[in-house]
Structures are given as C-alpha cells and as structure tokens.
C-alpha cells in the first residue's frame, strides 16, 4: 500500500512539474504584458523600464529558475496588474467556480442516474428511445449554446431568472443547467450501458428468483454493481469540467469564477496569475482523480484487496 501511495505521489509531482514548466514557457512565447495594456503609446525606453520593473528583463532561463525556486518555497508571486499575491486572487475566484461545479455535479447525478436506469429498463420501448435522443442532443449541443438559449428564454423574454453573478440560489439555475448538459448526457448513457450489462447477470436472476421486489433488485443488486463502472466515468467527466468546461459559461453569466480570471489573465498577459491559476486547476483535477480512485476502492472490495 505504501509503495502504491508513494508511486502515486511521485507521479503527481512529475505531472505538476511538467504543467508548471509548460505554462511558464507557453505564456512567455505569447509576448509580455507591456506589449499589451501597459504599453500603448509609450517609447521603447519606457517599455524597457516597465519590463525591468516587472522582472521580465532577465533571460528566460533565469526567469524560469527564479520562478521554480520560488514555487518550491511556496511563493507564487504577485500579479503584475493587481500587485497582490496570486494565491489570494485565485482563491477569491475558486470558491464561486467550485460552488457551480458542485451544483452541476449534484444536479447531474440526481437527474441522469434515474434517467439511465429508466432507459435501461425500458430499452425496447418509446421511453428508452426518448431518453437516449435527449441525451444525445445534450451531448451534441455546446454549453454556450444552451446557456444563451436559456438566457434568451428565461431571462430576456420571460424575466423569471437573474442572469448576472452568483448572488442567490436563483442565480445558480441557468449556469448549472448550461454546464450540466453534456455531463447529464454522458452519465445517462453510461448509466444505461452499465445497467444493461448488470441486468443480464446471473445474480440478478437469482435475486428475482428469491422473490425480492423489482425495485430492490434494480437498486440494490443492479445499481450497486453498475456504480463501479459509473464512478470512474463520473470522476473523469467532473475532472474535465473542472479543467475546461466553465470558462464560456462563466463569461455568459458574469460568474466571478476562475474561468473568467484565467481568460482575463491570458488576455492581459498577467503571467503570475495565469501560472498559479492553471496550476490550481491541475491540482484540482489530480485531487478529483485521487478521490475517485479511493471511492472506487471502497465500492469494489476486489480492488481494495488487490492494491493492499
């Protein structure tokens, strides 16, 4: 078990190191902040003055080494534009994004697991087909289209829901629906397939033969076994969403989240914020994967024992 944990940690460390390096060089390739907002209408000498003030005048290798050593000592630097610690800026924005992510995950699980089970049980009837068509649509339509349609209907036309920010519970409805579309579609399909696999197993027949009511057979024997497959899929989907999914949706709903922050920092070339922001998202994805791994082990005794 210890070697397993150590190996996992080492792999995480290497992944993070690669991400830090990649982001560092990718941002530097795209110009510097003085070329953009800070530098409109100033002379070359003044440009150099600002570049030096922001510590961008040394060679890229030196900057990289300086950055690495500060990262190892837990210092992620100050934003070029706001001149306060990037950790403070990113944390300020992480919570709204996390709330939205949790909201979307809860909604997805509550909706798509029953739908998936329904689609599996009624796979030959019209119910099954309708569920699958809807799921397919959800998968095919991008989140920003769903978002804009929701805004058009429920805010612009009907004026039922607020569109800006994360102030109240009502504010969560449209962004949650918008980013859940793809997730609901994916999880519904996976639930259906997993259930179909399980439904044809011998132990299901045995359970029925014992005279258990059908709903107990489905939920206890069926879903429990299907959940093993589901867990890893849900984990991957959430991780993908955390990494990329909400940038556009946050822009549409003026959500004060990390997606909005990353876009702005990229446009303004605020490297320290961008670096720490991407790193934080990467850590979040790695943590989610680790949590899923553990949950997986709990759901399936065979894995727990094999890894021991």
């Amino acid at each position: 078990m210890l070697t397993y944990v150590l190996r996992t940690l080492l792999r995480m460390a290497i992944t993070l190191f690669l991400i830090v390096t990649l982001v560092f060089f990718a941002t530097r390739l795209s110009g510097n902040p003085v070329d953009f907002v800070l530098g409109e209408g100033i002379t070359k000498e003044d440009r150099d003055l600002l570049i030096a003030y922001y510590g961008l005048d040394s060679s890229i290798g030196t900057q990289y080494l300086r950055y690495l050593s500060s990262v190892f000592s837990g210092e992620f630097g100050l934003s070029f534009l706001e001149r306060r610690p990037v950790s403070e800026i990113v944390l300020e924005r992480a919570w709204p994004s996390l709330k939205l992510l949790l909201s979307a995950v809860c909604f997805t699980l509550v909706v798509s697991i029953p739908l998936g089970i329904l689609a599996a049980i009624y796979r030959t009837s019209i119910i099954g087909s309708v569920v699958m068509v809807v799921a397919f649509l959800g998968y095919a339509v991008p989140s920003f289209i769903i978002g804009i349609l929701l805004v058009l209907i429920f805010a612009y036309t009907l004026n039922w829901l607020p569109v800006i920010g994360d102030g109240t519970a009502l504010h969560f409805i449209m962004p949650t629906l918008a980013i859940s579309g793809m997730l609901v579609a994916a999880i519904t399909r996976f639930t259906r397939n997993a259930m179909l696999d399980v439904l044809s197993q011998d132990y299901m027949r045995t359970a029925r033969a014992k005279g258990l009511p059908e709903w107990i057979v489905i939920l206890k024997h069926g879903l429990r076994n299907a959940s093993i497959t589901l867990l890893s899929v849900v984990g991957l989907q959430i991780a993908a969403l955390a990494a990329s999914g909400s940038v556009v949706v946050e822009a549409i709903f003026a959500w004060p989240g990390i997606g909005d922050l990353l876009v702005r920092s990229a446009i303004l070339r605020d490297y320290p914020v961008l670096q720490f922001g991407v790193l934080s998202v990467a850590v979040a994805v790695i943590v989610i994967n680790a949590v899923v791994d553990i949950a997986y082990a709990f759901a399936d005794p065979r894995i727990r024992l094999a890894k021991g």
Binding site: G31, V37, L38, E82, N159
Partner: protein, 515 residues
C-alpha cells in the same frame, strides 16, 4: 418613547425607500487597479472622475475650453515659469483627513519627479515640462515649469495629476512614514480621493462600488450608491438591462443598437469617441521606404465606405488628425488624408510597385470592427492593384522592423492636439522610438512651435506644417473616430459629456437623473 421609536422607524423607512437612489452599471471591462496617476487606459478612464478631483476643473458640458475652480480656487502666473495656486479650504479626503498643500505637493511631485516606473512612463510624454511643486503655506502651492508653458490649465486638469492623500498613501505598505513603491501599488487597490463618491469596494477586474461622500466640498452626489459589475458578454449586458439587474450598460456594439432602439424598456446613447482608430505604416521597412507607396496605401482606402458598412455611418472620418474637442486648435479645414484610387494607381506605377505582398497586422478582437476593417481594406487595396494580406496575431508588432502596416489607436488623453497626435508622434515619442517613424530638424522645429508657442495662431500654423509633413511622407492614416454606445433603462437620463476624455462614467451632480 413609543412615539419616538415610531418616528425614527418612519424616518428611516422614508430614507431608504423614497430617497435612496442606487444604480448598477454593467461594464464590459473593469480595471485591475485604480490609480489615476499611472493609468491612461480606456478601461481605467471610466473610473476616476467620480472619486478624484484635479486642481483646475473643466466645464464638461461643452467641447469649448472653459476652466473652473477645482481643488484650487485661484491661480496666476507669478513668473513666466511659476504658477501660484490658492487651494480650496475645508476639502476632505474620503478617509476623513483634511486636504492640505502637502497633499497637493505630494500628488504633483509623484508625477513631476517620478521614480516609480509606472509614473515615470505616464509623466514622460505629457508632464516633461514640469520641474516640481512646492508648498508656500497650508493653502498655497507653487508649480515650477522648466520653460514657459502654454498649456498650464490643460496640464493641471489631467487625470494623472488628480490629488491623493500623502499620509494615507505612505502608511499603506512597509514603513508608515516612508514612501515606497509598494505604497503606490497598495494605493491602486485601495484608492482614496476627494471626489463626491468614495470607492467603497473594489474587486480588481470585477466590481467597483461608489458611495456618496457626504463631506464632499462641492455639490453633493445625486446617487447614494453605484455598483459597477463586470459583464463580459454583450448579450448578457443587454439581458441584464432587460431583467433589471443593470440600469446602464457599456460598450454596445453597433450591430446591437437596433435591438435596443426597438425595445420600449431600453434606450441607447452614443457618441463618436475622442480617439482615432489608425492604420500605421512602417516608414523604415525596406519595401515601404518610398513615400509614394505609403501614399498609395492611404489613398486607396475608402474610409466613408468603411464607416457606412461597419459603423452605420455613425463614426466620423477626419480630413486630418484633428478632433473638435481641441477647441481653438480644431482644424478641419486641413486636408491631409483623402480617398483617391486613381492617384494611388499612378503613384504605385511611378514607384515601380511590382506586386510584392504588403502585410497588415491586427489582433482578432482588440479594436471593435478591427478585423472586419482590415479585410475590407485588403479588398480596397486589391482594387488599385496592391497585394495585401491580413496577418491576425495577438501580439503588438509596432516595434518590430518587419512590421509593414497594422492597426492602432490614437486616443485623446487630454483636449489638445498635444494630448492626441502629440503623445504618439512627437520627436523621439513612441512611434519614432519604435523605429517606424522618422523626424528631422524641420519637424522638430515645427514641433517646438506647436508645443510651446504662447500664440494660438502660431500653434495652429505649426500644426498645419506637421500635418503637411505627415501627408508628404505618411506614417499613418486615421481611419475614423469609432462610435461608442451605452444602453440604459428608459427612465435613466445619462449620456457621455462632450468635454470629457473618452469613456468617463460621470455620475456627479447634474450628470444623471431619473424620470
């Protein structure tokens, strides 16, 4: 006692319901920092006028130049290079401190004698002629210029020399009695001024909240509270107006105006912004050294058609680098730039243009309609036989020797040709120092007269000479003054005032009302 309670309750109820006026603004962009000294961006300009004052104020209702007392009540030249100003008494900063001559000297010298790089950069082009400010007594200061200054009032009305508190600023970072660079950095997150609104909350890039400052020296602010929220998407900004989440929204694209005009709940106001979108041409590019080729590039562009197609005819196409905000220095009678495809063809022939490719750099979304204009310009160039190619990239290429042509903007930083053309095209200014524009002794001589002459007629004549130089050996072409719109609920009466620099959100007394 019961009666007293009831009266108090009633009074507070009335105060909140009947008289409380709050406003929410949905802005396409919110600043990352708020310090009037270091900033001259279009995004930043929105936020300073409500919270800060200058020594000399200006009537913003007109494009005519009309100076008014600000934090200084009187000012006079006591020597050709020394201005003495009497300061207004009883002025308070938002933190409760009294404004004294020390604060004024501190604010001015932070720019005049800057050693903080963001201030140095901002002061260089416009405040170079100012040596120092000094205190005479608690309510009198003197400002020393290096040489006689024809633009005293203009340059004391700048956003960059708005007044900030000395003790407060010094206390922000490190040693509370010492001035460090970090004090200025900290100030830009917790700004304090003397204006009718204080900045009650500032989340960089997200939110600015102004609250009425009851100790303001002048006419009290008409609103209790204004919240500016960042709403990046145009569609969401318009929807926020519709749902009542915003009262005013900024930066409405020209193609969205119809939607707003057709809706009884909303209206739009706009103006041709006091800035030019320009095309710049690298005079030192080996293939563009011949002025005739650059003249042809300019003559081939039908700017009126660009205006009709991209701005619905609402932009303004200039005949020379001039804006009506310049007052007595507005010179629309000069014709430096025109559309003449026949002449363009002739010039190309004379110059022996052999069809080599001419690139035009543009960022994908930085300027409204920037990419569309670039594509249309390629078609216009093709009409006269120029082989143009749009090069879409995010990076600023104006300092690259390989840059041939690209788009740029020349904002009016203050209402004088020195504050627009002058900032960008001065000898050794940004354009020349980036190696894409050359000046010589003659240019510098005309420049001297334009910048420092005390005689308006001589300044006008010198500016005409500079424009003639630009015409003969063109480094740029102003395309148009873009049209910028704000949308609001029908019951809000607000419009950008003609005497401001671009984009100022002015909510002072007399600037906003409700039906």
């Amino acid at each position: 006692m019961t009666k007293l309670l009831a009266t108090t309750a009633l009074a507070s109820l009335m105060a909140t319901s009947a008289f409380a006026t709050e406003l929410t603004v949905g802005a396409a962009n919110v600043s990352s920092y708020l310090d009037p000294g270091r900033d001259h961006s279009n995004v930043g300009s929105q936020f300073y006028y409500n919270a800060f004052d200058t020594l000399i104020a200006k009537n913003h209702d007109t494009t005519e130049t009309e100076w008014q007392p600000g934090l200084a009540t009187e000012w006079k030249l006591i020597e050709p290079t020394i201005m003495e100003l009497k300061l207004r008494e009883g002025v308070k900063f938002h933190n409760g401190a009294d404004m004294t001559a020390d604060d004024v000297v501190f604010s001015l010298n932070r720019m005049y004698q800057a050693d903080f790089p963001p201030y140095q950069v901002r002061a260089r082009d416009r405040l170079e002629n100012f040596e120092k400010a000094e205190k005479v007594d608690d309510h009198t200061v003197r400002i020393h210029a290096k040489r006689p200054e024809p633009l005293w009032e203009t340059l004391l009305n700048l956003q960059q020399v708005m007044i900030i508190p000395e003790d407060y600023t010094k206390s922000l970072a490190g040693d509370p009695d010492k001035l460090e660079h970090d004090d200025f950095e900290a100030f830009s997150l917790k700004p304090v001024g003397t204006g009718p609104y204080k900045v009650a909350e500032f989340v960089p890039g997200q939110t600015v909240v102004w609250e009425r400052f009851d100790d303001f020296w002048g006419e009290k602010a008409p609103l209790d509270k204004v919240t500016v929220k960042h709403i990046p998407e145009t569609a969401s900004r318009i929807t926020a107006l519709k749902t009542g989440e915003a009262d005013i929204v900024t930066n409405i694209a020209p193609d969205q105006l119809q939607l707003i005009e057709n809706d009884p709940d909303m209206k739009a106001v706009g103006s041709a912004t006091a800035l030019f979108h320009v095309m710049i041409m690298n005079v030192n590019h080996p293939k563009l050294k011949d002025a005739r080729i650059r003249q042809a590039l300019s003559l081939a562009i039908d700017r009126d058609t660009l205006n009709e197609a991209l701005w619905g005819g609402k932009a303004v196409v200039p005949s020379t680098h001039t804006l009506k905000e310049f007052g007595e220095l507005y010179q629309p009678e000069l014709t430096t730039f025109e559309y003449n495809p026949e002449k363009a063809k002739e010039l190309l022939k004379e110059a022996g243009y052999d069809g080599f490719e001419i690139t035009y750099d543009t960022a994908p979304g930085y300027y409204t309609n920037g990419l569309l204009a670039a594509q249309a310009i390629m078609e216009m160039w093709a009409e006269v036989g120029i082989n143009g190619k749009v090069n879409v990239q995010d990076k600023w290429s104006g300092n690259s020797p390989d840059m041939m042509t690209r788009n740029w903007s020349n904002p009016m930083y203050f209402a004088d040709p020195f504050g627009c053309f002058g900032v960008m095209w001065a000898p050794n200014g940004p354009s020349e120092s980036e190696g894409r524009f050359n000046t010589d002794e003659d240019y510098a001589k005309s420049w001297e007269q334009f910048r420092y002459s005390g005689d308006i007629e001589l300044r006008r004549a010198a500016y005409a000479e500079l424009m003639e130089r630009i015409k003969q050996d063109p480094p740029m072409l102003p395309l148009y003054r873009p049209y910028e719109s704000w949308a609001m609920k029908t019951n809000v009466n607000w419009a950008p005032k003609p005497g401001h620099i671009p984009y100022v959100l002015d909510f002072r007394a007399g600037s906003i009302s409700f039906n």
